[in-house]
Subunit: 318 residues, 2 copies
């Protein structure tokens, strides 16, 4: 099969071996794959991963010995394969299972191939009303839903989202649905325009923002974003961290204590609400698509995805 | 009246002018005052305060034109005098009122004097069963109660308290009452022994601690404590910051996001539960008293309070 493989350098392999699903796992025929910032970080060598890249996908189940009812179904899937037995799994945090493998990120081949395997209990059938081009956004949209899953964002809250990258645009759309007083801040007028068209108030980074927000979401992917977010949150407010850039930030601890600020780290999220939001067209992912490439043109696609100002680049197995 | 005054240097003034309570405030005859780490920080020049020091107290109301029923009552009191009118006050966070004055800390003379004034709505009558020597701990005990007021500490949680100073010892006693699996860590065997006598498991800092705690409270007052606390908290766990030392710490932001850790700053707390815990003898503050001095010996008392290993030093107006 065709695959994009990374072992220090990114390679297109036209004749990678087909995977065989172990017990409990399904074989999935990939249809569309999204390139995520995490994929770009892996290619830059930050995460030490070796194998087939990719974790955002929509595909069709080709084989599932333990769950034959899934065969032929169009699916998306969670990316953390957990043990289900350890204390972390038992207390309901399987995405933090210390024994987990993560699709295309950690000890598990990913989705940038004609086929891959994933435990059947991680798969979600995609409603017919959701086209492939939307379904492939389920995973990052779930990450946006993780914010409201972990933090009670009230309709009376004033909320600021910093960052107009792919994740920031999804986060802003999800938070808009709470009815909160929302401001999205970014560096790219053309990206902010996607939110403006949905009635979300936006502002170019660097302009003055009124401080004292109840909730601030940091999704800039830059260390500067943290200081900006910290300065905007009110006493007893909540600062949500979504950026996973590498490097440290400086925290004035005493001020966090005096202001009694809550800082919440947030990453992978729940798939079912993301699928509901897509099916009910409460978020719009289509303007986030920059371009689609064939899997065989994967190296070009990665270059495009890494270029400044580019939103989502897709890979197709067609 | 006698007073301990700070204007860059700490002075004992035998003939400071008696204060006159403005409308809405009571005149309080001080009985006992506690010296807090914040007082020591002020004397080191960190907070830019000028005036009469002190915020921990028990006293008797000498005059209260707006609330005559308080006259003659023994009281403790909250330390933040708020406006009651601004958005912060109206949403229920008066301790963060941007117009607030803070007793002996910010734009308001404090309690290290024969008399001081405080708004009557900040005063709490002290039940007869609580002697002065316990009542004077109400304010720091309230700060310990703020943890369980802001964070849901479950009886099934594994909790680690770092720091065996005055606040750490109060925090450990309050958290013990949740029924949680508690470990208190400090540098002073004689202080940890206070907790051991109450059945709290303790450990000397530097010995190996099992990571993966559900809740970690950082009360060491040292920047090193932050890194230690961060390393102990489990994914999706909560790190409570109580230390208000000056200086920055370094935060590996990506790991906070990946582990979805929550960091909660916490300072002043609710007085009513603190008084209930004292009255019902569910915490024991008496072993925390190191020594009591007369107000006239205030300078010596401050030297003693700043010495290594010393717990609570009290000042008496007797």
């Amino acid at each position: 099969m065709r695959a994009l493989y990374f072992d220090g350098t990114l390679q297109y392999r036209p004749d990678a071996p087909d995977p065989t699903p172990p017990p409990g796992e399904a074989l999935i025929r990939t249809r569309l794959i999204g390139i995520c910032n995490t994929d770009l970080e892996i290619v830059r060598g930050y995460l030490g991963f070796e194998g087939i890249l990719g974790h955002e996908f929509v595909g069709v189940v080709a084989r599932a010995d333990d769950a034959p009812e899934l065969v032929g179904q169009r699916v998306v899937g969670e990316i953390n394969a957990y043990c289900g037995q350890c204390p972390t799994c038992r207390r309901g945090d399987p995405t933090h299972c210390p024994h987990r493998t993560t699709l295309g990120i950690y000890r598990r081949d990913g989705t940038m191939a004609d086929y891959f395997t994933l435990p059947t209990n991680l798969l979600y059938p995609v409603p017919a009303a959701i086209p492939d081009e939307w379904a492939v956004f389920t995973e990052p949209l779930a990450a946006a839903c993780e914010i409201t899953d972990r933090v009670h964002v009230r309709p009376t809250d004033r909320v600021v989202v910093l960052g107009d990258g792919k994740l920031g645009l999804l986060v802003a759309q999800v938070l808009q649905l709470t009815g909160c007083d929302l401001l999205a801040v970014g560096r790219h007028p053309e990206k902010l325009a996607i939110l403006e068209r949905r009635g979300i108030r936006t502002q170019i980074a660097g302009e003055k923002i009124e401080p004292g927000a109840d909730v601030v979401v940091e999704a800039t992917g830059s260390p500067d974003g943290f200081a900006a977010a910290r300065a905007l949150v009110r006493p007893r407010g909540t600062l949500v961290l979504k950026s996973t850039f590498h490097g440290d930030v400086t925290l004035a601890l005493s001020a966090v204590v005096v202001d009694e600020v809550t800082i919440v780290g947030s990453r992978c999220g729940p798939f079912s609400p993301a699928l509901r939001l897509l099916e009910q067209q409460l978020v719009d992912v289509e303007p986030l698509i920059h371009e689609a490439f064939s899997l065989a043109d994967g190296l070009t696609a990665f270059e495009r995805a890494a270029a400044p100002g580019v939103l989502k680049v897709l890979l197709s197995t067609d």
